[in-house]
Symmetry: C2
Subunit: 193 residues, 2 copies
Amino acid sequence: MRPLPEGMREKVLAAAELFAEHGLDATKMEDVAAATGVPKATLYYYFEGKEDILAFLFNEILDEVARAIAAAMSTAGTAADRLRAALAAHLRVFEDFPAASRALQFDLGRAARIPHIDERIEAAFRGPVRRLLEAGAADGSLRAVERPRLAAIAILGAVTTVGINAITPGPAARPVEEIADDVIDVVLRGVAA
Amino acid sequence: MRPLPEGMREKVLAAAELFAEHGLDATKMEDVAAATGVPKATLYYYFEGKEDILAFLFNEILDEVARAIAAAMSTAGTAADRLRAALAAHLRVFEDFPAASRALQFDLGRAARIPHIDERIEAAFRGPVRRLLEAGAADGSLRAVERPRLAAIAILGAVTTVGINAITPGPAARPVEEIADDVIDVVLRGVAA
DNA sequence: GCGGAGTTTAGACTCCGAGTCCAAACGCTG
DNA sequence: CAGCGTTTGGACTCGGAGTCTAAACTCCGC
């Protein structure tokens, strides 16, 4: 993937809507061209193919999550406070980027097999939460769980599933801030001191 | 989808391996034919298309989960005991059907949009767990959470994510029974009385 | 054994969409 | 202006999903 020129990034982000609605494979490159206003030949000039566009979108959203979680982690307070803030920040990203989030959910299984994406999920999600759990065991604000990495996976599974559920259109759709406290509460009790 | 004749079910189950490895869209019908020993024309005689085969596989595994959870739910003991048993049973299904489980994970986003499958996920997973949470609030073995449905989604997100992670080949792969207790412990504390 | 209904299969076929290619135009910089 | 990278339309190739057909086979009631 070539570096994108001015304005291209925003245009391509619009493709998330399509991927969220139909999934990667049911979305035609011509549709992406139509929705973004970038002609097919130009898309192929910048991206290696359809999956490369998906990877780009995921990278964008993972940047966002990594930034949000890192910001929450670097605040003052106990590890428990910071974990609470990190999970709230994570949930907020779903709300801020609903199309990209739903696209991610649609093709998460595929995305997780793109090695680069999986590394980024580790760096943006699992790693930070695991470190918070360890910090919590050290400062006494959280219980010392035997397998912090496993607990981090469980926590992120819970939060991500609920977040996706909240933004998926349908009877169960809810504003994220309406549910965030409840979920984080359940999760935090699970690892409380 | 027509009712399958004797022996066809087992053969088609072998397609899960392919879907788990490459995903639905990267798997050719000819490959499915080769792997299952059922010729392409015959597959199209019984199934409406590739996605219909995926739906069949998911139905099979959802049957299994529904059975396992229902059995765990109908045992004696407090609601907390039964919840523990249900989650352990759920995790065991991942281990018993690794190929189908990984196929499910690969295309879960797509599967969740097949209405029939989503209903079955509700019936097999979310509904029973929600009812256990309510029973736990009633018999005092669990805390009365404000939004039992939300908590059920969070619990299943945690357990499913960990289960998938455990059976996914790679450095993080673990036998399920090695991790089940830990995860269930974290989850149970989250909703403990 | 016979005829019909449903099943099984090979193989040819249509159709669509991903990705390639090319050539013409464009726009910037030296 | 010459040259390089960018932009684009449009034609093209190629592979795979799903369709169709016709022949063969199985099983049934008669």
